[in-house]
Amino acid sequence: MGLFSSLAEKLGNVFSKITSRGKLTEGDIKQAMREIRIALLEADVNYAVVKDFVSKVSEKAVGEAVLKSLTPGQQVVKIVNDELVELMGSTNSKLEVSSKPPTVILMCGLQGAGKTTFCGKLGGYLLKQGKKPMFAACDVYRPAAINQLQVVGKKVNIPVFEQGAGNPVKIAANAVEEAKKLGYDTVIVDTAGRLHINEQLMTELKEIKQKTAPTEILLTVDAMTGQDAVNVAKTFNDELDITGVILTKLDGDTRGGAALSIRSVTGKPIKFCGTGEKPTDIEPFYPDRMASRILGMGDVLTLIEKAQNAVSEEEMKKLEKRMRENKFTLEDFLTQFKSLAKMGDINDVVAMIPGMNRANVDSRAIDERINKYKSIILSMTPQERNHPEIIKSSRRKRIAAGSGTTVQEVNALLKQYDQTREMMRAANSGKLPQMQQKIVRQKRRFR
């Protein structure tokens, strides 16, 4: 597979490599950072941005707290994610409104990024909020650009102000006058796609800005953009002092690392996402979702959080200690089982692990089983719970009767307990990683 193996799997490997070992060394963190660096680069985050990011994260990761933590690998992943989310800004799809209507919104960006399409989306969105928007057709270069805006306008029921292939600066200014006259409170200005290095066309945008005093200047960027995103965003921001960014075509399978690059070089908020070709395919920007997307980790982080919520640090410590001392009893077994149940539907849990598909497990059956286990264990004497090896045939019969289950079910519980203990012993002697990996490999093969 090489080049095409998915990031999710790669990071899944890093993740399991670190977590399965338990304690981390500084060398481990270095290795993890290398992998994360590659992951970010393959996600199209800009080279320089990645460099900064990784050095920041690794500083945090070598901190005492991580090295001493019970789940250092998970901590590292969490630090990476938290840092990403923070860099990505907040969910902020609020558009500023001018105190002197009409509010002018200027769209700009490279060729084919999705400006004209987004005019339609934004218009529809504002219409729903009770605004009265109008479009201004200021792309006088692209063949049939005006027709396109008109078709879009018709779809969302918003009028288009156009003056053919005139001077875009004048057309924009005239559109604003027209809006004032006709009582439109918002003018969305569609402009031609242009290269950031085209001085003449960049000057044209500056003139439109000067003449129409836009409240919002939105840079539209294709989410599939690669390393060049920093150059584009930086130049547009330097020249126009943009107010926000629109990230389009997120309905594709791109990792969208450009989002991080753009945020880092402009510091401007990403306000909306385009998620399709229809006027309704507009969404607010969610930094946390974007972070997981860039990391290609799917919901690994949700899984980590769920696990952390389900088992308290205290409980973890206790379990770990008992495991180490080989004192893992039936009571501990029940605690562990319950915490797994607390993480939610087992199918969802499995689906969140990279490289694993949704398991076909009946989660109701699992709940039932946990309840049965509970009553079986409750029917045991404290001595039996702490020394399960004394539970022989007559005791099994008594326990089954007392808990309203069958001897077979009691046997099943004891067997599963034995297996779990076996696994824990293996974990203590360092054999578990291979075991786990074998299971993962098998799962993959059967996909």
Partner: protein, 301 residues
């Protein structure tokens, strides 16, 4: 203006220009770690991708050791050679007529514009050219293509918005047959490769072409935007699964993006880059030349 001079012009305009960095790098100096780091940066910022960069760097270091290279200038020549070889592994197509060229790709990459440019190119070569407007979906797509057909002075077959694109292609094929045309250019709607139904639609269009023009040479080209990063790999991969891609048209090379991802694609998928787009004008389409492409990435000003 030629492709190379356009690229050079683009490079001149940006201080971030890779050429500038390389120039600085290659004028003297020794093979230090910093030197390799900077080389790596140059490759990665051209969108070649971290993994392909590793492969290229490994190969480069191997050559350096083998040839006992000590100076940076020779390293530069070696690196260029490696990159050019990667691109030239895949053979360029030679056309036979009647010829069908179908352009497909994700949204907004420059398919329609490239159809206009190709129409002009074949028309100039004395061929009789027909365009099929098989994007019946996007707002005013046919209007846009009509303008290009007029500019190139070629025939266009179109239906109304929302019509079946396969039906447009069917009509166009009949027209080409009856008029003994040389070249049929098929413009398709932009579609993201992860949309199953749209990829099925593309397969259907492709089947109609094959069925209606069985004696024609059919070339399926995917259009890639040079600004695109690593996602271009899965674009080519999945379009190729659907309709067997014969080549790449790499557009928007007149910007500051380098389109380095085609190096990863060339190495992994064996699909050649056939044309490059270097502007919005009708003549801004050039035959791909690996050496010029690599020069565009690496040469000093």
């Amino acid at each position: 203006m030629g492709f190379f001079s356009k690229i050079k012009e683009g490079l001149k305009k940006t201080k971030e220009a890779i050429a500038y960095k390389l120039n600085k790098l290659f004028t003297g100096g020794v093979l230090t770690d910093d030197f390799y780091d900077e080389l790596e940066e140059i490759l990665i910022t051209s969108d070649i991708g971290a993994e392909t960069t590793d492969t290229v760097m490994d190969r480069l270091k191997g050559e350096i050791d083998k040839n006992h290279v000590r100076d940076t200038a020779t390293v530069r020549t070696l690196l260029k050679k490696i990159l050019v070889e990667l691109l030239e592994e895949n053979e360029q197509p030679t056309y036979e007529y009647p010829l069908v060229i179908m352009l497909s790709g994700v949204n907004g990459v420059g398919k329609t514009t490239a159809i206009g440019k190709l129409a002009k190119k074949f028309k100039k070569a004395g061929k009789s050219v027909t365009i099929a407007a098989a994007d019946t979906f996007r707002a005013a797509a046919a209007d846009q293509l009509t303008v290009w057909a007029e500019r190139a002075n070629v025939r266009i077959i179109k239906h109304t918005e929302g019509a079946d694109p396969a039906a447009v292609v069917f009509d166009a094929a009949q027209s080409v047959k009856s008029k003994n045309g040389d070249v049929l250019l098929v413009d398709t709607a932009g579609r993201l490769h992860n949309k199953k139904n749209l990829m099925e639609e593309l397969k259907k269009i492709s089947r109609v072409v094959e069925r209606e023009l069985p004696d024609a040479m059919v070339m399926n080209y995917i259009v890639l935007d040079a600004t695109t990063g690593q996602n271009a790999i899965s674009q080519v991969e999945i379009f190729n699964e659907a309709i067997d891609i014969d080549g790449i048209v790499l557009t928007k090379l007149d910007g500051t993006a380098k389109g380095g991802v085609v190096l990863a694609i060339a190495g992994e998928l064996g699909v050649p880059v056939v044309y490059v787009g270097v502007g919005e004008g009708i003549d801004d389409l050039e035959d791909f030349n690996a050496e010029e492409f690599v020069n565009g990435i690496m040469d000093e000003q």
